[in-house]
Amino acid sequence: FSESETTPTGDTGGDGSDGGSGVADDTLDFPAGRPPTDVQFNRYSLGNYAHTLQDQLFEQVARGYADGSVRPDLLEEMTVDGRTLTLKFPKNFKWWNGDDLTAEDYFVGLEIDRLQQPEKSTIESNELVDDYTIERTFKNAVAPNLMKADVAETFVNTPRSVYKEYLTKLQDAADQGERDAVTEELLNLKITTQQLIDEGLGNGLYQVTGFNSSETKLKKFEDHPYADRTDIPKARIIPETAADVDSLAVNNKVDMNPDVLMSKSQRGSYPENLQNVYRLNWFRTQKFTFNFKNEHLAKLPVRRAIAHAVDLESMVAAMRQAGTVGKPPKKQTALRSTIHDKYLGSDFVDKLIDYPTSKDVEGATALMEEAGYTKKNGNWVDPDGKQFTFNVLTSNENIQVQATKVFNDQLNSFGLQTKISTVSSSDYYQRLQTYQADIFWIWHVAKALWHPTAYFSNNFYGIEVGDPSSGDAGPTGKPFTTTIPSEVGAKEVQGGGTEIQPAKLMNELPSSESKKEVKENTRKLVQWFNYALPDLVFVEEDSGYWGDVEDFSMPAEGDQELNTNRPGQFSFKNGWISSK
């Protein structure tokens, strides 16, 4: 068995194997990610990069907060001057191997990213001004906050000791072919967890000391500037795939779940010492995308009828059973309601068309009839008297199934025939890319930014319309040019209406030069979304974290600024969690 389990030299001391369990021990146990034996730490290698573990093991440069701002995390300062963003690094951070952490460690990564495809990159140059300063210049003018957002949620995970040689090679490369060769080399470079330990290639507050397929052992890195903040000497990350988190929690074997809220249904079975610590209005929503290539879904009244016919409340109720915490959106705007005020204003929002969040069969019927559909034997038939069936596609992950199932049942009971296909997630993404169905369940994943650009992204996690230079309609048949009523909230186009180009607008939104422009464009897009219903958003999920509040003191609202992505991990990495 020797190949598969690596024995760390040094710290193999036996610490008790149960985590929370009432007895205050000195180890913080929490679930995250995949087994450390399965992952590696070169971020350029695609498949098995340790996405989740990096969150705990590397310092983050800057973070986006729920108020829409982007502020330094590791950085001392970030300033914008014209097209240039200046990043100032602190001097007192170290890699676990004792090397100083300098701006170059981050710079190497930035430059590699840029140089892999310099033409396509939005960055003109990155410059290492001195050991602790980087100047980053964009090709085009961009709103300052968006320039900062560009480095938000990025990690110092490219130690110069490892990556500098690749940067040099890229710099020396004469053409794209040679650059691709370097990229390929990078793709095949692997940094195993063992190597991470041996060479000390991390820089977070907690350092990896050992691992096996069912845990990653962490010890406080005493040379870290925050080392004095916390009294927790050790932590352990239990891979989510190696153990059933729910049963760990029920048996009180974990102390925290860093970016998951405990749902009502879980509350019942979890021990009392585990409590939700912090709740966050998160940036992710879920939606159903309509494929306009289906002749019926291409008709606005039909889409609207669907919006009336389904009961968002009960869809969300079903999801809550599966552990989701969230609520249906009040308005179909594509944006989280938390940023409505900031970008739309309540007047604007109030004017928008109201789609019911609970079932409105009459409304739906009226809409169907308006479009010339009639009901026959309880099922709707089209104006030609033909029956039709929508293919609904979803992934077989639990949450997705829950929502789609209810959605589907409600369409059926309304008289719209559907055939639901629940496929494994990889197959689902495959079909999704080619839009092989009429209605799809899909996340609406915004970057960790509470900013309209994150919601109006023209890709399939956003509101994909397609590449506007490619024809008159995108992959889902959504037109590149369409007309909406001139008046906000009007249900029909009267008069000439306003012609808009949603795809183009979405693509241009990130380079809006002023707040005002951002707001204007956002309102246009929101009005389009609200009027045309290209997608139907059905839940706004919440995030946060729960933990063992008996044994540990964990920061909650007010204690620290936590209104950012993965608040539990953020607290942990900042040394804000201590034992009681």
Partner: protein, 335 residues
Amino acid sequence: MSNPESDTFDLQNLYDESSDHEPESRKVRLKRAIDLNALAPARVASDDWRALLGGAILAVFVLMGTVGVALVDKPTSGDAPVLAAPFQALAYPFGTDVFGQPIHAQLIHATPGIFKMIFAGAVVSVGFAAVVGVLSGFKHGERIDTILMTFTDVVITIPGLPLIIVITAIFQPENPYLVGVFLGIDNWPGLARTVRSQVLSIREESYVEASEIMGIPLSTILRRDILSQLMPYVMINGAITSRRIIFESVGLYFLGILPFTTFNWGVMMNLAYEGNALTRPEMLHWMVFPMLCIFLLSFSLVLLSQGLDSLFNVRLRARHANTTKKDASHTSQSD
């Protein structure tokens, strides 16, 4: 001294000598046929608790899949309160799931699909096995036998479950018949080999040789002498195969490898399991009842496969038949 014409004449003579037989009436014959082929098996079955119990359970499921589907409405979300506990209300005796769908209705509406799957799978694997086995057994020693057996051996070496998983993962079949076919493909080789060896040993029986010497056409020999002997064996294996198909299909649904479109016990278990039914007592029934169904259906099949043995046994059947003379068994040889 003898020629074909006088042969019939000879037999005719015999007949004339003792022509006092009354031709049997059609009614008597029919009665006997019914007695032997329907009533006697029933009587045998009623003697064998395994066949009886197995048959009864299976019958319940068949009813569920036919009458039940007609009687009980297709469940949809919101039919009833969410996660109602079992045995509380008549409208949802087994409780409801997180969608508020009554569990019993889901179980019932999943049954036709399961049967379709079993049917397709059993037909494919057992049928294929029988054809290959009989063919190669009957052509023993010829090239076709070698080819078929080599092919069979090759397939035997491919481990069934992983292959099925890979195949279903690739083709993502949604139609229950297709699922059954896919699940059936790994199952036939072992059976084919056994059928072949059975055919080989039946062929050794002198009654087959006698038939050949009597000039009975090969097709008749196959049908009368060989297939009739194999039938019980094939049926028993059909039951065993069916159980296996249930296991595998439900397993693949349970693990989320097969795409699901309609109700299925495995899907229910999958949803419940993914919903952490194990750690949440109020959800447990959502998991337990489909499990119970799987258990009962396969239990009935296992029992049947054991009980069928006696059902197909002519000796037992004859003993339970009414229309043969009572003293028949007295003269039977002890062997």
